[in-house]
């Protein structure tokens, strides 16, 4: 869900249901690393309901697009983490079996 002003799409608050610090903090990180973002922060209004509000203010680009790019970036990073990790585990396995064979 998005709460933004109609006149100025460069600032908006997004409300994610069923999410917590796990996603919000990671997205805040990627957004703050984006040069188009002038402010980004998140809050959990009440600990009993599973909801986070993410505030995005940009230097001009639509906040919605910037948030989308932030998520896209995070996804690509995860993808890279996964492939690197799988490779590292594979390397470790081949090394240890070689050592056992020696």
């Amino acid at each position: 869900m998005e709460h933004g002003s109609l006149q100025d799409p460069s600032r908006a608050t997004f409300s994610f249901v069923d999410e917590d610090h796990t996603l919000a903090n990671a997205v805040r990180f990627t957004l703050n690393q984006d040069p188009r973002v002038s402010f980004c922060g998140y809050s959990i209004p009440h600990p009993s309901d599973a909801r986070v509000n993410i505030r995005v203010q940009t230097t001009g680009d639509p906040a919605r697009e910037v948030l989308k790019d932030g998520c896209q970036n995070l996804m690509l990073m995860c993808h890279h983490v996964r492939s690197t990790f799988d490779k590292a585990v594979g390397d470790y396995r081949t090394n240890t079996t070689e050592m056992e064979n020696d």
């Binding site: 990627t30 703050n32 998520c71 896209q72 490779k87």
Partner: protein
Amino acid sequence: MSKQENKENKKFSIWDLPDVPMGQLPPHLQLQRTRVVCKADAPIHTDTVLYSGAYASMGIDNSLHLDSFRSNFKVEVIRLTKDDMEFDMIGIDAAIANAFRRILISELPTMAIEKVLIANNTSLIQDEVLSHRLGLIPINADPRLFEYLSANDTPNEKNTIVFKLHVHCKPGEPRCTVYSEELKWLPNGSEFIKESEKVDTKPSTYTSFSCSQNSLQNFSSNPISPTEDKIIIAKLGPGQEIELEAHAVKGMGKTHAKWSPVATAWYRMLPEVVLLEEVEDEIAEELKKKCPVKVFDIEDIGKGKKRATVARPRACTLCRECIRGGEEWEKRVALRRVKDHFIFTIESTGAMPPEVLFTEAVKILEDKCERVITELS
């Protein structure tokens, strides 16, 4: 007059000054950015600098580029066993490393006993305590092969695993212990007959399996059981008996810790121990003796002189014992942590191997991002 005018007209840029560091931060800022410094009373510079323009005034871009992330990110596996692993994750921010850790603990599904039908329990241990103990037993079944059981679903072969426990301590015999190995998997579902009002209806059980789980996937070669055989469930005195059926369903750690696939998953930042000055002779001996985890060694530098060296910084627990005992020690040793180097440890409960758990956790974070993207477009 004309000379002054000339000066003003001349284009002047602050970047032309000789003492402006181009392309790199001054050392003290670089230290703040990349290290947590542990002082005797408290650590400082613990936060990471998030904002992309934080160092814009120095001509340094603090934004994240996917290409540079790809070239800098590294994973090194230190230890990998059946149910525990340790690896180094280098070149990633705490925000993302923490997301992985949180997902590992609370958002990866596993199977755990949720419903216990007790036919008979004459043991000392109460029904509810017994049920709770059963719930916490990790089960060796791949949760990816199962579906969630929602409130209106009938338990079937796709969402429920049924175990039977029937133990009896014969009168006159010594007390016996009930171990988790006594939980027998029932691939055909519940064997307890539901009581019904109508007499002529076909007797039904508490589950409605359409086929045996034995025929599904590869359970026949790898039968479902608790991951450990020797978990104590209860103790029976002579003449006591427990007869029950336990139904395991799929769930997540955020609902109840019994569904958490890890005993623990944690990370710590790589410790960095730096000797700020040469530490020699008696002081070197004293330094070596101060450290309870033997971070320091002593080497001979000839002429009967000895010098302290940092031999095993990774063992450092940051107990700060080495910088206690006055300001002079704080001047000799610096304890730091590398902010983007995480020593990640995963201890699995045994349902899934730790390396699979981690890849699944990363996949879940990817799915979360994807969900947001589809919702926004």
